[in-house]
Every structure is written in structure tokens, then in C-alpha cells.
Amino acid sequence: MKKLINKPEDVVVEALKGIEYAHPDLVKVHYEPNFIYRADAPVQGKVAIVSGGGSGHEPMHGGFVGMGMLDAACPGAVFTSPTPDQMLEATKMVHGGAGVLHIVKNYTGDILNFDMAADLARAEGIEIESVVTNDDVAVQDSLYTAGRRGVGVTVLAEKICGAAAEEGRSLTDVADVCRKVNGWGRSMGMALTSCTVPHAGKPTFDLPEDEMEIGIGIHGEPGRTRMKLKSADEITEMLMEPILNDLPFQAGDNVLLFVNSMGGTPLIELYIIYRKAYEIATKSGLKVVRNLIGPYITSLEMAGCSITLLKMDDDLIRLWDAPVRTPALRWGV
């Protein structure tokens, strides 16, 4: 196992210390329970937005804390949902009197821990709304699964809802925006390699040199299918097809095209993928009006990529364009 780490059990806390040193103008870090919160919290009168999840997906979520995006992010152990005390304390720290939105990715652990935290927060008189993201089309949403995973659209929702909160919308309205974004987004991912969780010491799964996994999540687990490695263009087609089929995107729709590195895939390859995804989207009659390209929701050092397509109306475009000032995303300020 080759990583730039010290002891596996110290990975999360040491990364938090690095964030604390690096961005004092943007965030503060609370330890035990661990969470990152915006330096000017609480912002009175504004709906606060709290998210979180296992560590190992950086910059998600801690890199998205700041003006125009998250008020707080709760990092669990690597690939492990954070615990309710983290979300409770974070919620109390950032509550500005206008309620708190919890953005929760659809994983059993994330749902259970956030639910417990929301109950505890409500018991302390804080109004909480929770919205679940579940944009991954690789998994069937049925009675026979734990539902679709929350992946790439989560990043987009955090930005868009952050803007909605920043401009003073109510908790109900911000939650509605979140549900709308989730409903209008679809994602699909693939991996060329697995990743190695620090305490495990070896890759979560082995992938032969000539094979790839299609339909992966962000926790290093195997995907839906394993097959022989294909070209970037063929892979892009394999990712775009279920996305386009799943949401009745209509010709003429404006979309945001988000091409994401799983962590180990470099930018030059992302642009090759973006090129083909853009051409496919455009050929389907969609208008790609915005994009995001880079490592934003990662799985440690996994090589691979994911694509997220988000339908946008004028309001979502405005909210996407609104100023944001976080470690990982910054524009308009």
C-alpha cells in the first residue's frame, strides 16, 4: 500500500488539521466530534446547510464549506458514515435561526446516522429538513435493493442550495430546490482500478490489467459489471446511455455536464471524456450550458471517472452562477 499518510487511524484528524491550517479565512475545524464549519458561522437569518459522509471523497464535503455552499460538513472515518453527535453539534454550531437543511447521500449508514441526528436536533428545538440524493443510475431502485446511491449530483445540489440559502430563501424552499436538483440529475461511474482503504492495506478489489468496472460507487466497492477495458469514447457512451435513458431529458433542455475524476485519473483524460460526453449530449439535442470538470467527489486514489448530467432551468443556472467561496469551488468573489 502506497500512500502519503502516517498511521491509518490518524488520517482523518491529520487531514482536518491540514484544512485548519490552510483555510482559516474560510473555515474552522471542530474536533471530537469532528466537523468543518464556515468561519463566519452562524449566519443569522440564513438557512444553514449541513452535509457529511465518510472521509476519502475529498474535496467532498469539507472542501465545500464556505459562503455560498455548505455551512458545515461532518467527516466520518474513511468510507464510514459520520455519527449523529457530529451532525448534531455541527447543526447547532451553524444554525442561524432559519432552520437547517441536511443533504444526505443515499447510503444506509448515512441515512441512519443523519436521521438520528435530525431527531436529536429537533428535540433541541431546531427545525430540520432532510433531502436524500440518489442520482446513480447504475443501481436499480427497487424493493430488492437499498435504492440508488447518492453520488455526483450531491456536489451540484450543495452548490445550488448553498446559493438559494445565501439569497435568503426559506428552509422549505431550499429543500425544494434540493429535491428538484436531485430529481433532475443522473450519474454513472466507472473504475480502472480499485482503491486502498488505509487500514485495509490492500485494494478493496482486484482488477486485472485489461479489465474495468462499470457502475461503481464512491466507496471502492465493485460495480455492476466487470468487462474488458475499452476506449475512452466507448466508455463515455456506456456511461452516457443509461443517464440519457433514465431521465427523460428532452431535446432543447439546458444541462450541466459534470465529468468527475474518481481521484487517480488525471485532468488530460477527463477532458478527453468531456469531449465525447459533450458531443453525445449535443447530438441528443441537449444544450450543455454549464460544466464542472475535475476531482470533486472522489474515492481515494481510484482511477476512473463519473459523469453527472443535470437538467437546468433559469433559476438553477442563476443559483449555479452565484458567488461561492470554499476551499474547492470559488467564483464571483
Binding site: G76, D85, T108, G109, Y144, A146, V197, H219
Partner: protein
């Protein structure tokens, strides 16, 4: 064989040791059909439990079990944290103020605990989760008690049922939890949560049938 407070503590210590010993094994199981953290999560949680026990060692069984539940909720994370946490919180509620339990009392507490866990996780037998070990273990325990079998044998039968339930997860296609994302590819692998549940019952037997 009455189960006293010290027996409960002995059980928790035994379970903690089994989790430490099986940390890599549980991690391996959670690599085949998961994200490779179940072993570390449970080990972390029960090391924290061990650290907390001295502060409640003089309290009633209910207080001890609730303390375990809260500690697990605050340290384990993932899916298993809230589920096992609920298990212990419910067991603690059912044993409030008790300093000693009969095995029948304990089976009632365990039943409430499992019901709470199943209500929270919404999994049933056959979904390829810890429920697949817990429910058979409970049934075997209740059945043995009802049949008047002696306590030590009743425990052994519940552990055997837990073990069988754990192994029965191998061919199942997961319908709950992270393994369900793999659909048919989850078949052929033993569920990590069912394994840690089996170990929990095994620890009971190890601690109480000396």
C-alpha cells in the same frame, strides 16, 4: 444460570476481543461486497466500549447496555453503528434497573433489541444482513427456553443457529445495504454484519458457559 452485571461485562469484553481478533476477517468480508470498513468500525466501537465500561461497571445492567449503545452510536458510524447502537439501547431499556437476569429475561431483551434494529434498518431475513444471523439465533434461544432446555445448551443452540444463519447469507443476493449495489455479484460471499452478529452470540456463549 442467572446473568449478573459482571456476566454482561464479561460478555462485552469477550465480544470486544473477538472483534479485535476478527478485524481483518470482517474487513475482508466487507471488501468482497462492501467498502472494507466493517472490521475497523466494530473494533473501534468496542474498544471505545471497553474504555467506557469502568465508568458504568457499578451500575445496573440497563444502564450498562444503554451506555454501550450510545458509545457505539458515537463511534462506529456506517450502517452498523446505528443498528447495533439501537440493539443495545433497546436491550438497555428492557433491562433498566436490573442487576440480574434469567436467560428468559435476556431473550426478551434481545427480542426487543432485534425488533428495534429491524425497525430501523427495515431488513428482513433473507436480505443478506445481520438480521439473517440475529433472528435465527433469537428463535433458537426462545425455542430452547420454551422447551426447558438448560441454559448452557440453549446458548449453544442459539450460537449454532447464528452460525448457520451467517453461512446462509453466502448464496443470497443482497437486498439491503451496500452489498445490494452489486446485485447478483453479491451472491457467493458471506455478509460481514451477519458475521459480527454471530460473533456477538458466540461471545455470550463463551462468557456465560464457562
Amino acid at each position: 444460570m442467572p446473568i449478573g452485571r459482571d456476566d454482561v461485562i464479561a460478555w462485552l469484553s469477550a465480544y470486544s476481543q473477538l472483534l479485535a481478533d476478527n478485524r481483518e476477517y470482517l474487513t475482508q468480508l466487507d471488501s468482497s461486497i462492501g467498502d472494507a470498513d466493517h472490521g475497523v468500525n466494530m473494533d473501534r466501537g468496542f474498544k471505545a466500549v471497553l474504555g467506557k465500561l469502568p465508568t458504568v461497571a457499578d451500575k445496573d445492567i440497563g444502564t450498562i447496555l444503554k451506555s454501550v449503545g450510545m458509545t457505539l452510536v458515537q463511534t462506529v458510524g456506517g450502517a452498523s453503528g446505528p443498528l447495533y447502537g439501537t440493539f443495545f439501547l433497546q436491550a438497555g431499556a428492557a433491562t433498566a434497573n436490573k442487576m440480574e437476569l434469567s436467560l428468559a429475561d435476556w431473550s426478551v431483551a434481545v427480542e426487543g433489541a432485534i425488533n428495534g434494529l429491524m425497525a430501523r434498518g427495515k431488513a428482513n431475513v433473507g436480505d443478506k444482513t445481520m438480521v439473517d444471523a440475529l433472528v435465527p439465533a433469537l428463535h433458537a434461544l426462545k425455542q430452547a427456553i420454551a422447551d426447558g432446555i438448560d441454559d448452557h445448551e440453549a446458548l449453544r443452540q442459539s450460537v449454532a443457529a447464528a452460525e448457520q444463519g451467517m453461512k446462509n447469507t453466502i448464496p443470497l443476493v443482497a437486498k439491503k445495504g451496500r452489498a445490494s449495489y452489486l446485485a447478483e455479484r453479491s451472491a457467493g460471499h458471506q455478509d460481514p454484519g451477519a458475521t459480527s452478529s454471530y460473533l456477538m452470540f458466540k461471545a455470550m456463549m463463551d462468557a456465560w458457559t464457562k
